[in-house]
């Protein structure tokens, strides 16, 4: 009885090899083409993006040129504005830093007791004013004067912050006493314009 060998392949080897080779070739071609297309898309994309951005830059530069031309035409106004700005800045710095002595003098007069006579006041920008005066019949009005000056010293915006009696003595004619004091002022409270 004849037996059939299952390992026998009746398809010629060459045909099988050719098929495999064709398959590999097609796969290779497909892969290579796919890679080429992918690389092409990526390269083109990046190139296109850069091209687009460059176009935008060019467009913006053109606009900038137009604006700069207009700005140059208006440069006179810029110069005028600059000059007035500098001048006003100087003005503002003086306005904001100077002391309003009228306010200080007015406040001082409001706090002097009736029995005290101011004979000498020196005010400057050091932050301390010197007051000399006379009082009668004794030292009590001087103490009252000091208390009046410091009445609101703890409040925000108070003008007088501290008082130091420098000297006090009986007048030669015995009619009263003379005194001198240094008053420390709140600088910031006197840089606002006085409300007359």
């Amino acid at each position: 009885m004849a037996k059939i060998d299952p390992g026998v392949n009746f398809i010629p080897d060459e045909v099988v090899k050719n098929r495999k080779r064709e398959y590999r070739k097609k796969s290779g071609n497909k892969g290579a083409l796919g890679l080429l297309v992918l690389v092409g898309i990526i390269s083109g994309g990046i190139f296109g993006y850069n091209f687009y951005i460059n176009q935008q830059i060019q467009k913006a530069n053109n606009e900038i040129s137009q604006h700069e031309a207009s700005i140059s035409a208006l440069k006179d106004f810029a110069e005028k504005g600059y000059k007035v700005g500098v001048r006003l800045t100087e003005t503002k710095s003086v306005l904001d830093s100077r002391l309003y002595f009228s306010k200080l003098a007015a406040e001082l007069s409001k706090r002097v007791p009736s029995s005290v006579t101011i004979t000498d006041v020196v005010m400057n920008e050091t932050g301390t004013i010197t007051i000399k005066g006379m009082a009668n019949p004794n030292y009590t009005p001087v103490a009252d004067f000091k208390d009046a000056l410091l009445a609101d010293s703890t409040e925000k915006g108070a003008i007088f912050k501290d008082v130091q009696i420098k000297s006090a003595g009986i007048l030669e004619d015995g009619t009263g006493i003379e005194f001198s004091m240094d008053v420390v002022i709140n600088f910031a409270s006197l840089t606002d314009p006085v409300a007359n």
């Binding site: 890679l35 604006h67 207009s70 208006l74 110069e79 007035v84 100087e90 003005t91 309003y100 101011i118």
Partner: protein, 346 residues
């Protein structure tokens, strides 16, 4: 055919078949060589598409993709910088257009700012202004001395990064602007000069307060540096009568008077040279809104006009110098004729 027959058939069994040796044909070597070449070319041709694709891919990667990719970040930075520049240019143009639209307001602001801090020192006007205020305060002027000009601390003007596009703000150039903006040139320091005047006046205490208030409320900015107020003690030996003491005539014999010694400072600022400044600096500004409005509320003292005749025969003699005050502005006149002979008095 039996199995044995099959196996014994030499034609069916190559291993056992006796193949007569055949001589290589003529040019056999050549034929084999040609065959090998044909195989190589064929193989190459089979994979040509793959090879070309790979080569093109590599070329694209190295010639296009990599260089373009390297440029991306650079171009994006450039684009961002250009966009910022464009926005800045737009804002500046808009700001300058608003300035030009408000030309009258700008001119007015220039006038007010120059009244506050003049371009010229205008010393006579400054002194006259203080005299006017003392008169308005009913004070008696004992003395007035102009002590000179001194420079105050330089103020550095620098650019601020982004100008504010508010049409109402007509001022630029900010000494207090924040530093550190790259690429914006700094303006040279601006110096205002100080005119120092000492003044001694006599009057009532309330009039001294009034005088101080007027000084503070004048448009030409004045800083009171020191005030020394002293009670004026009446000397019985000198103050004999109203005719002899002008203070008694002026204030009455019962008035309590004080002598006040003031030191004032006025300012002037020479015209700023902007020819070397770029537009970046010129359009940078600070918000000084309110300064002009504040100045406009202050009183401006018009210069007093004097009718002055120019020329005199003897400059060392005060022969009624021809100076008279008038309320109406007049032009200067020159009465001296060129042909008039000047003869010295013997």
């Amino acid at each position: 055919m039996s199995e044995e027959e099959t196996n014994t058939n030499p034609s069916m069994n190559p291993s056992t078949a006796t193949v007569p040796p055949e001589l290589p044909p003529k040019h056999a070597k050549e034929s084999i060589h040609i065959g090998l070449d044909s195989i190589n070319i064929k193989s190459i041709l089979d994979y040509l598409l793959v090879i070309i694709s790979m080569v093109l891919s590599v070329v694209l990667i190295f010639v296009v993709a990599v260089p373009q990719f390297k440029k991306v970040s650079e171009i994006r930075k450039e684009s961002a910088a250009v966009q910022i520049k464009l926005e800045t240019a737009k804002v500046r143009q808009s700001y300058l257009e608003s300035l030009s639209a408000l030309k009258d307001q700008l001119d007015k602001n220039i006038l007010v700012s120059r009244q506050a801090v003049p371009v010229e020192s205008d010393v006579p006007y400054f002194l006259n202004q203080l005299v006017q205020m003392a008169r308005d305060s009913s004070l008696h002027i004992n003395a007035q001395t102009f002590t000179g000009v001194s420079a105050v601390a330089a103020t550095k003007v620098v650019g601020a990064p982004v100008p504010d596009n508010k049409a109402a703000d007509l001022v630029i150039g900010d000494p207090d602007a924040i530093l550190g903006t790259d690429g914006i040139p700094q303006a040279p320091p601006v110096k205002a000069s100080e005119l120092v005047v000492n003044m001694e006046v006599v009057g009532r205490y309330e009039d001294l307060i009034k005088f101080s208030a007027l000084v503070e409320d004048t448009r030409r900015i004045v800083r009171t540096k020191t005030v020394e107020i002293t009670l004026l003690e009446k000397d019985a030996s000198t103050a004999t009568s109203e005719e002899e003491d002008p203070l008694v005539t002026e204030f009455g014999s019962d008035a309590i008077l004080y002598t006040a010694k003031y030191t004032f400072a006025g300012y002037f600022l020479s015209e700023i040279d902007t020819s070397t400044l770029g537009i970046d600096t010129l359009v940078n500004k600070t918000n000084l809104e309110g300064v002009v409005a504040r100045l406009e509320k202050l009183k401006y003292y018009e210069p007093e006009i004097f009718n002055v005749e120019i020329g005199k025969f003897n400059p060392f003699v005060n022969e009624d110098a021809g100076i008279s005050t008038t309320s109406e502005p007049t032009t200067l006149t020159v009465p001296v004729e060129p042909a008039t002979p000047i003869e010295p008095q013997l």
